[in-house]
Structures are given as C-alpha cells and as structure tokens.
C-alpha cells in the first residue's frame, strides 16, 4: 500500500514542497538521508528529518509478514487437554490466540473439558505448559468447585510423577491444588445482558492479569437460547460477541474456549443435529470440536479448523478428568483405526 505524501502528518507547505519536488509516495522518501532530501526538495534539514520520520513511522498497524506471524505462533504453546490423541490431532492442544468452540449434546463432557483446560493452562512451563491463569465465565451453573479440586489433584499427581530434574521439582512447589484454585477466576452470568456486560469489562480485567492465558465461556448458547423472540437482535449481539472474543484472543494472546449446545435442524424430512446459535455464529470460532456418543464410546471430532485435518479420536472422562480412552477398553474390533476413520467419513457424509 503506497501512502501518498499528502497523507503524512506534516505541515502543508512542507508537503507541497515535497510533492513539487516529485516525491509522490512515502516509499519514495524512505531510503534517502536528510541532506539529500533537503537538497532535492529545497527544505531545511530539520524539515527533511521530520519528513523522513513521518514517512518511516506509520499511522495504524504496520503490516506483518507471514514469517513473523509463524514465529509468533510458535512462541505460544497450546494448552494440552491430557488426552494425547486429541492433543496430537490439534497439533499440540487448544491454541492460544484463537477462539475454539466445543459443541456437544448434554452430558457428553463439554464442561469437563473446560475444567480440564482450566487446570492444564496452569501447568508450569518446565513441564511444557503455560503457567497461566484462567477466567471462567459460567452461564449454566455447571461449574462445581468439587470437580475442579478432583482435576487439580490429579494433575498435580501426574506432574509430580513426571518431575525429574531440580527445576521441575522446584516448579512443583508452586503447582499445588491450592495455587491451581487461586488462579481460576469465576464469574457467573445469569443472562445474556450480564454476559455482554462481562465482555465489555474484559479489556479492563485483562491488562491487570498478564498471566491470563485462557478464557472459558460455558456456555455461550444457554443465555442466548432464551432470546428466541427477537432473532435479528440475537444475531447482531452474537456477532458483536464473536468479534469481541476474537479481538481478546489476538490482542491479549489468550485462548478463548466457548461451549455450544446442539440443536435439531430439519432438512426436508431428515432431522440433523447441528451446533446451536446458527450459521453466523459458526464463523466466530476458528476451531470447532464436536463431542458425541457412539454407542458407549465418547468421540471428539475436529470439524472445523483452518490448520488441522478433520479427525476423530476417542476420549473418556474419568474421576481424574479428561483423558485418552483406555487402550484395553477398545471394542472387540481388531482394526480400531479403520473404525474411527469410518466414523469420521460417515460424519463427512452427513455434514453438508
């Protein structure tokens, strides 16, 4: 984008002289030194310096190259889910800086995964975690401290078994159930207005907590489902909400995780289960995880992701939290991989 000289924040007479001397765009000024410029344009050294400064700094956002973005992304780790298959499929875990949505029927484990992520984000950096804090926005009343204590205890035990060197042992002294609980901030929103209010106040809350790396909203659907009278207002509010979440994720480098319900959509005579809140909301998250039952197994599928292949993995929820499905528990099928591929491909067919 070539900026014309006339748009730089300089005095108008200076700008006129520059233009008359043949400098149409800011890029023309870039590689000159002040003496050259003052000679060419007939301006004083001072003014030449000023012009060069204005040309090289820019209003607004400087363009970032893709390489810089890649380096930035690699710096920020992902948040593990403790289900290694799912972490592998996601390329490390739930990514920081993006909005991830977890959809599923009631009881399949959405809140459990959110609680697990709230514990996992706090894993110290020496163990490969982020050592961060989490803001948990609960709209359904599914946040039970009892369960968080269970998960925290299991994570602490897991990490203390892994601790090998001195650094890790030192880190374990600050990674206890109490500290884990103290790093989880809870907000309960009873309706969509309170949720909107909370997100308005987010830009104030975040700078005070530079260690915050995860924002969970469980769930986005619940308060908005009650707004069924005015669908256009709902769409508008959801859009604004989505933009705010994306901005929070990118500007403050946090992972935003939202949960969504499933609803039935009628296609002709067929009923299909789709994520709630409509197609427009579907654009807000960059990654969508679908949790579902298949007979007695729980499956997690990545159904939307710009950076990952669609994949389906099996998981389970134990008293310790969200985990890999026990290998010994796999059904009698001798080809478990093919089975998951089949279910993934059948999912592709029913999805439109």
């Amino acid at each position: 984008m070539r900026r014309p000289v006339s748009s730089l924040s300089l005095g108008s007479s200076l700008k006129g002289k520059l233009v008359r001397a043949g400098f149409q765009f800011a890029t023309d000024l870039r590689d000159l030194n002040p003496e050259h410029l003052s000679a060419e344009a007939g301006v004083s050294q001072q003014e030449a310096l000023e012009a060069l400064q204005a040309a090289s700094s820019g209003h607004g956002v400087a363009a970032v190259t893709a390489l810089e973005l890649l380096q930035k992304e690699e710096e920020f780790r992902s948040i593990v889910t403790f289900c290694s298959q799912l972490d592998e499929a996601l390329g490390g875990g739930v990514p920081v800086g993006k909005v991830t949505e977890i959809c599923g029927a009631p009881g399949v484990g959405k809140t459990q995964l959110c609680l697990q992520l709230a514990v996992d984000v706090q894993v110290p950096a020496v163990f490969g975690g982020l050592g961060g804090q989490v803001l948990f926005v609960d709209t359904e009343g599914g946040f039970q401290v009892q369960r968080l204590v269970d998960l925290a205890g299991a994570a602490v035990r897991h990490c203390s078994l892994l601790a090998e060197d001195e650094e890790q042992r030192v880190a374990m002294t600050t990674f206890t159930v109490e500290t884990i609980l103290s790093n989880v901030f809870l907000v309960r929103c009873r309706d969509y207005v309170e949720l909107l209010a909370e997100l308005h106040l987010l830009p104030d809350f975040l700078p005070d907590r530079p260690r915050l790396r995860l924002l969970v909203i469980d769930s986005v659907a619940f308060p908005f489902l009650h707004l069924h009278d005015d669908l256009s207002q709902r769409t508008r509010l959801l859009q604004g909400l989505g933009l705010r979440l994306i901005a929070a994720a990118t500007d403050h480098n946090i992972a935003v995780v939202t949960t969504n319900h499933m609803t039935t959509r009628l296609r002709g005579s067929q009923a299909q289960l789709v994520p709630a809140l409509g197609d427009l909301w579907g654009h807000a998250p960059s990654i969508r995880l679908l949790l579902r039952w298949e007979e007695s197994r729980r499956l997690a599928s990545i159904v939307k992701s710009p950076g990952h292949m669609d994949a389906t993995v099996q998981y389970q929820i134990t008293c310790q939290g969200f985990r890999d499905a026990d290998q010994s528990e796999q059904p009698q099928s001798k080809r478990p991989r093919t089975q998951t591929d089949q279910s993934a491909s059948s999912r592709e067919n029913t999805r439109t």
């Binding site: 599923g104 029927a105 009631p106 009881g107 809140t111 459990q112 803001l135 948990f136 359904e140 009343g141 599914g142 946040f143 039970q144 401290v145 009892q146 369960r147 269970d150 299991a154 109490e178 884990i180 609980l181 103290s182 989880v184 901030f185 809870l186 907000v187 309960r188 009873r190 207005v193 309170e194 909107l196 209010a197 909370e198 308005h200 106040l201 104030d204 809350f205 659907a221 619940f222 489902l225 009650h226 069924h228 509010l237 604004g240 319900h261 499933m262 609803t263 289960l273 709630a276 579902r292 039952w293 298949e294 007979e295 007695s296 389970q316 134990t318 008293c319 310790q320 528990e329 029913t350």
Partner: protein, 369 residues
C-alpha cells in the same frame, strides 16, 4: 433509572435522558453506532457510557475458585447439598442434590419418582448437618393428585429411615406443616405459580426445595406434534424461571420427567448409551438441565423381613460433578433406600443390557477422589 449514580459526565447523562434510555440493559444490548445515533454522543463518550453500564450490571467481581472452596462467597457456591435420607444414594450423588441448579428425575410410570420427591420434601427439613436445608418444600403437582397418605406414612416412618438423627430432633419437626402443595393444571398456571408463589415462599425462607411433578405432563398434553417451535419456547420460559429461582435463592429444584420409547438410535449422539427409553421433552429440555437422574424398574425383587419391593436402579446420566454410575434402590414403607448387595434372584443375574452397561462404565476409584 437513576443515571446520576453512574458517575458519568453530565453531558452524557443528559444525552441519555434525552434519548429516553430507561435502563443499563437497554444500553448494553444496543450497538455502538445505534447508541451514537440515539444520543448524538461521540464515540469515546458512547464507550464510556457502555463501560459504566457494564460495571453497573455486573453483580460481583470475579472471584477465585480458592475463595469459593473456602466458602467466602456463599451466594455463588454454597457447597450445600440436599441429602436424600439414604447414605447409599447420598454417596452416589456425592452428598445429594446440588443447591444451585435444576435436577431432573426421569423414569417410567411406577418407577418411584414421586416417592423420591416426597422423600426429599422430608429430608430438606432437617438441619444442614443432617443433610437438609432447614426449611420446607413446595410441591407442584401437574398430573396426579398429591399422594397425601403416602406422605403421612413416610412421616410416621422417619425415625426408622433416619437412624442417624436423634429421635428428639425428628419429633420436634412438624413435617406436614412445612410442605406447601400447589396444583398447576396448565402451563400458564405453572408459570404464575413459579413466578409468584414459589418466589414468595423462597424469599421468605420458608422453602428450600421446589419439586415439579411432572414437567412433561403439561407439555405433552397442550401441544400438537407440529407445534414444536411454540413448545420449545414455552420449555425455555419454564426452564429460565426454575433456573432463576434456583440461583437466586440457592435452592435445589427437582423436575420430574416422563420417558419416551426410543425405537432406534439414529446418530446416537444425543443420548447416552443403550437404553430403550429416554427422558421426554427432547434435546431442548435436556440442554437446560444441570443434573439428570434416571430411575428404572428392574425385573428383580428384594425382600426384607415381611416387606418385599421391586428393585429399581437410580442412575446418574450426567452431572457436572458426578461420574456416570448407578445404585440399586428398593422402595420400603419408610421410603427409598439404596441396596448395596441385592439378594440376587436368579432373574437379576442374566439381566443382560443393564449389567453389561454397568461393566462398560469405568469403575469410580473412590479412594483417590
């Protein structure tokens, strides 16, 4: 609406008053460009207005889970549970029904749902240290008349059920005085009952349990099969009312539900595994429920002394803090009691799907919790 309390610049306040904006909520649901148009304020001013309205709408600052666990904010997480009166069932529920949230109890006719509802109406009246909430209960009937005689029987048998409570304490409790009965014949009267009567009783502290027996009856009778859109709207309205009551007054709400047959599992994504019945009212209602319990009648019977009872199974289908597990239950004169070691009738042993399902459920390692 007193805008002055918001500490905004006078010109913002006067612009808001000129635009006839009546509440913080109205401000928050309008978009920035709309607000600019309505009030004629500049963008920074509108942002300041939104910020102030948001701060006013927020009920409390974010608090840490550690503070919740320590009991520093009783309103958000009271840590209270409503016990059922039977230690086996309380262990299944990790203490009992959570005090903030809607618990659904679904089951076929004759499974024992009303029995459990009655039992909870009595157990809520005990003090907190005995698993109660020191208050009465509101029982809203929508279909069958209230089983008053069974309630009297349960009351007289309380000392037998609650052997953990000193008899003098049981003698002091006037159980039937603290159970308020309401009958709701249709949806409108249910909504009126919830919004007025229930709210009043809860605010006065006279009740700490609301039982709706049953939710399904009203919805199934009033709507034609094609009216599901309207039905869902009403479902959401009722659900938001009970949720509001539950969270506002830290009260458990028990919604009793019927079941429907499931002929085939099309995608198996919406219900948990292998059952031939599923709770009524579909996905729309299921999404609104915090804890879902199912009570099923089994083919076996148990006997104890001169009494015999058909065996039931109380199953936790889903709950945020509970594992999927179940316990066998029998219904005696004194109420529902969990059965740890059912006297195995030959009928029970080869009872395929249920026992197999229990094997599929991961064992809950209680010691490690």
């Amino acid at each position: 609406m007193n805008w002055d309390q918001l500490q905004l610049k006078p010109r913002i306040i006067s612009a808001v008053q000129r635009a006839h904006l009546k509440s913080f909520r109205e401000v928050l649901v309008s978009s920035e460009p709309d607000l600019q148009k309505m009030t004629g304020l500049s963008r920074p001013d509108v942002q300041e207005l939104l910020h102030a309205a948001a701060s006013a709408c927020r009920t409390r600052q974010p608090i840490t889970a550690l503070q919740l666990q320590r009991g520093e904010c009783r309103r958000l997480e009271s840590g209270l549970r409503l016990g059922t009166g039977c230690p086996v069932l309380d262990q299944l529920l990790r203490g009992g029904l959570p005090a903030g949230g809607v618990t659904e109890l679904a089951g076929a006719s004759g499974a024992g749902k009303t029995q459990l509802g009655l039992q909870l109406c009595l157990s809520v009246q005990y003090p907190v240290e005995h698993g109660g909430l020191s208050a009465g209960a509101l029982y809203i009937c929508t279909e069958d008349p209230f089983p008053i005689r069974r309630l009297q029987q349960l009351i007289s048998e309380q000392p037998s059920l609650r052997s953990d409570v000193p008899p003098s304490l049981i003698g002091r409790l006037r159980f039937s005085d603290n159970i308020y009965l309401e009958h709701a014949a249709d949806l409108d009267s249910l909504q009126v009952c919830l919004s007025r009567r229930a709210a009043l009783l809860l605010a006065q502290g006279r009740v700490r349990l609301v039982v709706v027996d049953s939710v399904a009856a009203l919805f199934r009778s009033e709507f034609q099969p094609g009216d599901w859109l309207e039905r869902n709207k009403q479902l959401l309205t009722v659900s938001s009312m009970v949720h509001h009551l539950s969270h506002e007054f830290t009260t458990p709400v028990l919604c009793i539900n019927q079941v429907t047959d499931v002929f085939h599992q099309p995608e198996s994504s919406s219900s948990s595994p292998s059952s031939s019945v599923s709770p009524a009212l579909g996905l729309a209602w299921a999404n609104q429920v915090t804890v879902r319990l199912m009570l099923r009648r089994l083919q076996a019977t148990v006997s104890r002394g001169d009494q015999s009872s058909a065996l039931r199974r109380l199953e936790v289908v889903f709950a945020p803090h509970l594992a999927q597990s179940s316990r066998d239950v029998a219904v005696w004169r004194e109420g529902l009691r969990g059965v740890l070691d059912p006297v195995l009738d030959p009928v029970l042993a080869p009872f395929g799907p249920d026992v197999a399902q229990q094997k599929m459920v991961l064992p809950l390692r209680l010691g490690s919790v």
